[in-house]
Subunit: 317 residues, 2 copies
Amino acid sequence: MSLLAFDLGGTKLATAVFNKEGIISFREITPLENRKGAEVGELIVNRISTLSDVTEITGDEIKSIGISVPGIYFSKKGTVWAPNIQGWDNYPLLEEVKKVSGKMPVTVDSDRSCYILGEVWKGNAQKCKDAIFLSVGTGIGAGILINGNVLRGSNDIAGAIGWMALQRPFEKKLSDCGCLEYYTSGEGIARLTQKILGEKKHYSGEFRNKPIEKITSLNVFRAYEKKDEIAEEVVNLCIEFWGMACANLVSLFNPEKIIFGGGVFGPAVSLISKIKQEATKWAQPISIQQVDFEASGLQNDAGVYGAGFLALKELNS
Amino acid sequence: MSLLAFDLGGTKLATAVFNKEGIISFREITPLENRKGAEVGELIVNRISTLSDVTEITGDEIKSIGISVPGIYFSKKGTVWAPNIQGWDNYPLLEEVKKVSGKMPVTVDSDRSCYILGEVWKGNAQKCKDAIFLSVGTGIGAGILINGNVLRGSNDIAGAIGWMALQRPFEKKLSDCGCLEYYTSGEGIARLTQKILGEKKHYSGEFRNKPIEKITSLNVFRAYEKKDEIAEEVVNLCIEFWGMACANLVSLFNPEKIIFGGGVFGPAVSLISKIKQEATKWAQPISIQQVDFEASGLQNDAGVYGAGFLALKELNS
C-alpha cells in the first residue's frame, strides 16, 4: 500500500508516493506554468488519476491522499485561499479531488501545518509533541504542534505569525502583511537593504556594482558574511525581530523545539544560535532553557513529507 | 454529590462547594495571615477534612476536589511553584492533599488555566472551544483554551504572556518580569506614573496632593477618567501594549474570544473597546474580525469556578 502526497506551491506542484514507513518510491515536480484557478485543481486531479492507475498495476496501490496548499485551508468548507494562485480565493479543492479519489480518504492542510507534520514524521521534530516550524520566505507563517496535534484555531487561521506586532507605534506600511513579515520576509530584507543603499552617500561595500533593484535577500546574507556594513545593519535587525518572535512563541507555548525553514532558512540557518541568544533575553526564563532551536531537517521537502503524514494519519485514524 | 473547589491566592484561600450544575452551596474565605510553606498546605488539608465531614452528614458528599494555585503547577511531579507563597518553590501539594482525600480525585492547575476554565463553565466563554483569558494584576498571565483543552506546553509553563516582547531594543530592566508585565502590570502602571510625576516640573493634575510613592494603578485609572495628562500618557501606552499583545494572540491562536480579568480589569474594563481598536491595526485581518473581546463574567470568582470545573471534568473523564 502507498500514500500519495502533493505539495502545491505558487509556481510548482511537488508529488511523491510514500510507503507507510515514509520511504519515497516515486517523485516528480510539475511546473504550474501559466495555470490558474480551476486549471491548478485539474492538474492535481490529473496526477491522482495517472498515479492511481500506475500504482494499481505495480501492486503498490494508493490508499490515502494528502495535499499541502500554499495558504489557508478552511476545513469546514473544504476550500482553499492561496494568495499566489490566481483564482484561489475560495477554491473548492476537496470537492474537485473527491471526484476522482473515490473512496480513498483525502486530507488537505495549509503548508505551515504540513511543514511541522513533516518534521514530526521524518525530520527534526521526531518524538516531539509540542514543536513549532517557523517558515520564513516570501511570507512568514508558523506550523504549531500542541500535544501532537496541529493548532488550527476556531477558523483554521492560526499560526499567522507574519502579523506579529513587535515595534510600536503602528505605521500604515505594516497594514498589508504585518510587522514581522514587513521587516523580515525575503522581500522585506531586500526592500530595507535597497532603501538604506539608496540613502547612503559614501559606500564601497559588497553591493557597489549591483543595480539596487536587483538585490535579493540571498545577496544580503552573502554580503553579511563578508561584513558589509549595510548587510550587517539589516541582518542584525532581523536577528532582533526573529529573536523577539521566537521568545514570544517560547513564553506562550513552552515548546520542545522551534524549527527554522522556508527560503530564508536557507541562507540564514547560520544565524540560529544568534537568534536563540536574542530570544534568551526576552523569553520566560525556564521555558527558554527547555527549548531547542534547529534548522529544518527536510528543507524543501518538509511540505511533501507533511502531506504524506497527513495521508498516513488519516488512514490510521 | 458535590465538588470541592479551592482558589489559593497570595494572601487568602477561597473555598467553595459546588453541585454538578455549578451552583455554590457553601463558600468561605480564609486569610493566609502569616502562614508559609507547609502551613499553607496544611490549611488546605484542614479545610478538606472539615468540609468532607460536614458534607457527609448533610448527605451532600464531596466526590472530587479541584485546586487553583497562584503560580505554576508541574503536573508530572504534582508540585507547585508559587512566587507569592514563601517556601513554595517546589511544594508537593498533590502528595499532601492525597493524604486526606482518600480515593477522591484531586486535580490541581495554575490560576490562569483555572480562569479560562471557569469562564467556559459559568462565565463569558461558555460554548467556546478556543478562547483566552488575559489576567492582568500584580503579574500577567494567559489561560489558553485550544479545542476545549487548556494549553499546557511541554512542561506546564505555557501562557507566560507577561514575558511578551513588544518593544526593541532589549533593556536590562525587563529581565525580572518580561516586557509586557514591566509596562502594564498593576505595579508597572504605578511605577511609570510615579516616574513621570517625579520628573514633571509644572503639574497641577489629579495627583497633585498625593504622596508619589502611594500612587496605585487604581488611582491612575481614576485620574485617566478625569483626563489627567500623566494618567492619559500612561494609560494610552498600556492600551497600545495590550492591543499589540492581543493582536499577537489573535494572529497566533485565531480564538473566538479574549476575556479580560485580574485586578487591573477591574478598573480598566472600560478600555476594552480601545484595546480592540489598537489590536485591529496589527492583527491578521480575518482573525481579528472573528474574535470578541470581553470582560470576565466571573471577576474574582473565575479561579474558584475554574477549580470547580477541574473537579467536575476529572469526575466525568
